[in-house]
C-alpha cells in the first residue's frame, strides 16, 4: 500500500493570540485550557493521519469536532496554523499559489454538503467548471463533461439548471463535476448528509461501485457512524479537534480506543456491520464422511447432545448434514452407509455476508448455517442464538471474545 496523503501535526487555531495558543498545543495543554488562557479556539489539534492510495478514508465526528476544518486544510481552503500535508510526498502547505492551483485543478476535487452547484450555470456548465478554469478548449471540455454526466446517467439533464433537479440528482452532478477532472483524490464533505435516507443509500452504493472500477483516494467526512462503517476502509474518529482513533470499522466497534468512541458505537445497528465471520463458531461439530458410518455418527450426536451434524470431506469440503432421528432409524434398520441419509440442502453463506442478510436464511430452519469459502470449504457455522446475541449489548463482548 502506498501512502497518498500524510498529515503531520496539522493544527488550526481560530481567533486571537494564535502564536501563544500554538505554543500551548505543542506542550499538550488541553483545548479548554488554551481557550481560557489565550481566548483562541483550537479547531484542529495536532492531527496525524496516513491515508493510503485507493482507499476510502472516513473522518467521522460530531459537529464542532473539527472534521470539516481538517478536510479543508487538505486542499488549503482553510490555511493551517501549523503542520504539514504531504500529497505524494509534496507538502502543499509550503506551496505557492500557482502550484497550489495546479494541485487543485489536477489532483484533488471536492464534493460539498449542499452540493456547491452554481445556480446560474446549467448542469453541463457546472460539470465543465473544473475544466474551464484549467483553460481547456471548449470542445474538449464539453466532451469530457458530457462523458462524466453520461456515466452518472445525467446527460438528458445537461441543459437544466441545478434548482430544477432533486437533491439526489444535484449531488450526482456534484460528484460528476468532481470526476470530470479525473482527480486522484476526492474530498467529500458530508456529501450525502443532506439527502433523504433512501437516496443516501443509493449514493453510498454508487460510490462503492465507482470505487470498485477506478480506485481513487477518497476522504469522506460524515457524522453518521453507519455511513462510516458502510463506506470506510478505515475510519478516523475526531473529538474536540483531535483524532482519537484510526482503525477499520470492525476494529473500532470491537476495540474502541476510549470511552468516547465506545459511547459512539454503542447504539450502532450491528446487523449492518457484523458479518457471518464475526459471529460464527469456528469449532463446529462435524464428522468426516469417509471415516464414519451411521453408528459412529449417531454416537457423536448423542455424546454432544445435538439433533444434527455437519458432514465434510477430509479436506473440509462441505457435503451436507445428517439428522439424528433419521440416523437412529437407519442404525435400527442395520444400514451403515451414511450417503443415502445426507441432506445436501444445508444453507450456506460466505464469511463477508452481513448479519442483516442472515435473518431471512436463519429464521425458519432448524439446521445451522454453514459458512464456507469460495472452494466450498467449511469455515464455521452460525446458529440462530449467535445472531440474536451478537445484536444484543452483552452479546457483543461474547462475540468479540470468541
Amino acid at each position: 500500500m502506498t501512502t497518498k496523503i500524510k498529515v503531520k501535526n496539522l493544527t488550526k487555531i481560530f481567533g486571537d493570540n494564535q502564536k501563544e495558543a500554538l505554543e500551548l498545543t505543542k506542550k499538550g495543554v488541553s483545548k479548554n485550557d488554551i481557550l481560557e488562557q489565550t481566548g483562541a479556539t483550537v479547531g484542529v489539534y495536532e492531527a496525524n493521519l496516513t491515508i493510503n492510495e485507493g482507499e476510502i478514508f472516513v473522518i467521522m465526528g460530531l459537529s464542532g469536532s473539527g472534521k470539516s476544518t481538517l478536510v479543508r486544510m487538505l486542499n488549503r481552503l482553510i490555511e493551517p496554523t501549523d503542520g504539514a500535508v504531504k500529497i505524494d510526498g509534496e507538502d502543499i502547505i509550503q506551496m505557492d499559489d500557482a502550484n497550489l492551483r495546479e494541485v487543485r485543478r489536477k489532483k484533488i476535487s471536492m464534493v460539498f454538503q449542499n452540493f456547491g452547484l452554481f445556480p446560474h450555470k446549467t448542469i453541463l456548465e457546472n460539470t465543465e467548471y473544473g475544466l474551464e478554469v484549467q483553460g481547456i478548449d471548449k470542445n474538449e471540455r464539453k466532451e469530457r463533461a458530457e462523458q462524466a454526466l453520461d456515466n452518472a446517467g445525467l446527460l438528458p439533464y445537461k441543459d437544466q439548471y441545478p434548482d430544477q433537479l432533486s437533491g439526489g440528482m444535484q449531488q450526482r452532478v456534484g460528484l460528476a463535476r468532481a470526476l470530470a477532472n479525473d482527480p486522484e483524490i476526492i474530498l467529500m464533505d458530508e456529501a450525502f448528509s443532506a439527502l433523504d435516507p433512501l437516496i443516501r443509500r443509493d449514493m453510498q452504493d454508487e460510490l462503492l461501485e465507482l470505487q470498485k472500477n477506478q480506485k481513487r483516494t477518497i476522504i469522506f467526512i460524515t457524522h453518521d457512524l453507519n455511513e462510516s462503517l458502510r463506506l470506510g476502509d478505515r475510519i478516523a474518529i475526531m473529538k474536540d479537534g483531535q483524532v482519537v482513533q484510526v482503525d477499520s470499522g470492525d476494529d473500532i466497534l470491537m476495540n474502541p480506543a476510549n470511552e468516547y468512541v465506545e459511547r459512539f458505537v454503542e447504539d450502532i445497528d450491528r446487523s449492518l456491520v457484523y458479518t457471518a465471520e464475526n459471529i460464527m463458531s469456528t469449532t463446529p461439530e462435524y464428522i468426516i464422511k469417509d471415516e464414519n458410518d451411521t453408528q459412529s455418527a449417531l454416537k457423536h450426536m448423542e455424546e454432544k447432545d445435538i439433533s444434527n451434524i455437519i458432514v465434510v470431506e477430509e479436506d473440509m469440503t462441505l457435503r451436507g448434514y445428517l439428522d439424528r432421528e433419521e440416523v437412529a432409524q437407519a442404525v435400527m434398520d442395520g444400514q451403515s452407509e451414511i450417503d443415502p441419509l445426507l441432506h445436501t440442502t444445508l444453507p450456506t453463506v460466505r464469511p463477508k455476508t452481513l448479519v442483516k442478510n442472515l435473518y431471512d436464511i436463519i429464521h425458519d430452519i432448524d439446521t445451522p448455517v454453514a459458512v464456507i469459502d469460495s472452494n466450498d470449504k467449511l469455515l464455521g457455522i452460525v446458529v440462530r442464538g449467535a445472531v440474536l446475541s451478537a445484536l444484543s449489548e452483552e452479546g457483543r463482548d461474547n462475540v468479540l471474545n470468541s
Binding site: R101, R104, M110, N114, Y129, V133, Y161
Partner: protein, 282 residues
C-alpha cells in the same frame, strides 16, 4: 484644567483652502474634463435629437415591451407619457435630461462597481469606504454644487459630477452586499477547482451578485434623476431647468407640467432598469 476651545475652529477656511488648492493644482485636468466633457455631452444630445421624436418614442416603447416580458402596461404608458412630453414642447429638455442621467449613471457604475468589489474583498477598505459613502449620502446635495462649479464651471459637466457624488453610494453598497451574501460553499467550490481570483470574480461572484448589483444600479439611476432639478441650479440644461424657472417665477402650471414630465421619465427609467436585473429564467 481642560479648557473648551472658545475660538471658532477654522473648518470652513480649511475646506476653502483645500478646494482652492485642488482647483489650482489640477486646473489642467479640470479644464480638460470640462472642455471635452461638454463637447461630448453636446454631441451626445445632438445625436439623440437627430432621431425624430415619433421614432424615438416608438423605439423606447418597443424596448420596454421586450424588456418587460412582453406585457402591454409599460409600452402603453411610454407611448402616452412621452407623447405628452412632446405635446408640451419639452422634447429638447427631455433629451438633455436623458443625456445627463445616462452619462452620470454610466460613470457612476463604471467607478462604483470596482469600488464595491474592493470593499467586498477587503475588510479594511470596506471600513474606510462605508463611512465615506455615509458622508456622501447624507451631506445635502446642494453642497456638492459649490465645488462642482469651482472645478468645472457651470453646465452639464458639473451637473454630472454632482450627480455622480450623490448617486455613487447604492452601486457601491449593493455590489459589496451582492458579493458578500454569496453562499460561502459556492466560493469554496470555485476555489477548490483551482480558480484564479479573477476567474472566481468573473465566473462566479459577479454573475451570482448580478441581481443585487442591478438593484443598486437602479437606485443609482433614480438618484441621478432626482439630482436633475438640483443640477439645473448650476446651469445643467433639461427638464429641471424648467422646474427651476417656474419656481423662480411662481408659475404653478409650468412647474406642474415639467414636474410631471420628470415623473414620467422616472417611471419609464425605473421599470426599464429593473427589468434588466430580472432573471430571464424566472
Amino acid at each position: 484644567m481642560f479648557e473648551l476651545p472658545l475660538q471658532e475652529l477654522p473648518v470652513s477656511e480649511i475646506v476653502e483652502t483645500a478646494t482652492q488648492w485642488l482647483v489650482d493644482t489640477f486646473s489642467g485636468f479640470f479644464n480638460f474634463v470640462t472642455q471635452y466633457g461638454s463637447r461630448f455631452m453636446s454631441n451626445f444630445t445632438n445625436v439623440l435629437s437627430i432621431v425624430p421624436p415619433f421614432l424615438f418614442i416608438l423605439l423606447i416603447a418597443l424596448l420596454s415591451y421586450f424588456a418587460n416580458n412582453r406585457k402591454m402596461g409599460l409600452p402603453v404608458f411610454t407611448l402616452i407619457g412621452l407623447g405628452y412630453i412632446l405635446n408640451q414642447g419639452l422634447w429638447g429638455q427631455l433629451l438633455d435630461t436623458i443625456a445627463l442621467i445616462v452619462v452620470a449613471a454610466i460613470v457612476t457604475v463604471i467607478i462604483g462597481i470596482p469600488i464595491g468589489i474592493l470593499s467586498a474583498k477587503n475588510d479594511t477598505a470596506n471600513a474606510i469606504i462605508q463611512p465615506v459613502l455615509d458622508f456622501m449620502q447624507t451631506m445635502p446635495a446642494f453642497v456638492y454644487l459649490i465645488p462642482a462649479v469651482a472645478f468645472f464651471g457651470i453646465g452639464m459637466v458639473p451637473g454630472i459630477f454632482a450627480s455622480f457624488i450623490y448617486a455613487l453610494a447604492p452601486t457601491v453598497r449593493f455590489t459589496n452586499l451582492g458579493i458578500r451574501e454569496i453562499n460561502p460553499e459556492l466560493i469554496e467550490a470555485s476555489e477548490s477547482f483551482g480558480s484564479t481570483n479573477s476567474q472566481k470574480l468573473f465566473k462566479v461572484e459577479l454573475p451570482l451578485a448580478k441581481n443585487t448589483i442591478m438593484a443598486g444600479i437602479n437606485q443609482t439611476v433614480m438618484l441621478t434623476l432626482s439630482m436633475v432639478v438640483i443640477a439645473s441650479m448650476i446651469g445643467a440644461p433639461g427638464l429641471g431647468g424648467n422646474v427651476l424657472t417656474a419656481l423662480q417665477r411662481a408659475q404653478v402650471g409650468e412647474g406642474f407640467v415639467s414636474g410631471l414630465a420628470i415623473v414620467i421619465l422616472a417611471v419609464i427609467v425605473d421599470r426599464l432598469t429593473q427589468s434588466l436585473g430580472r432573471d430571464k429564467r424566472a
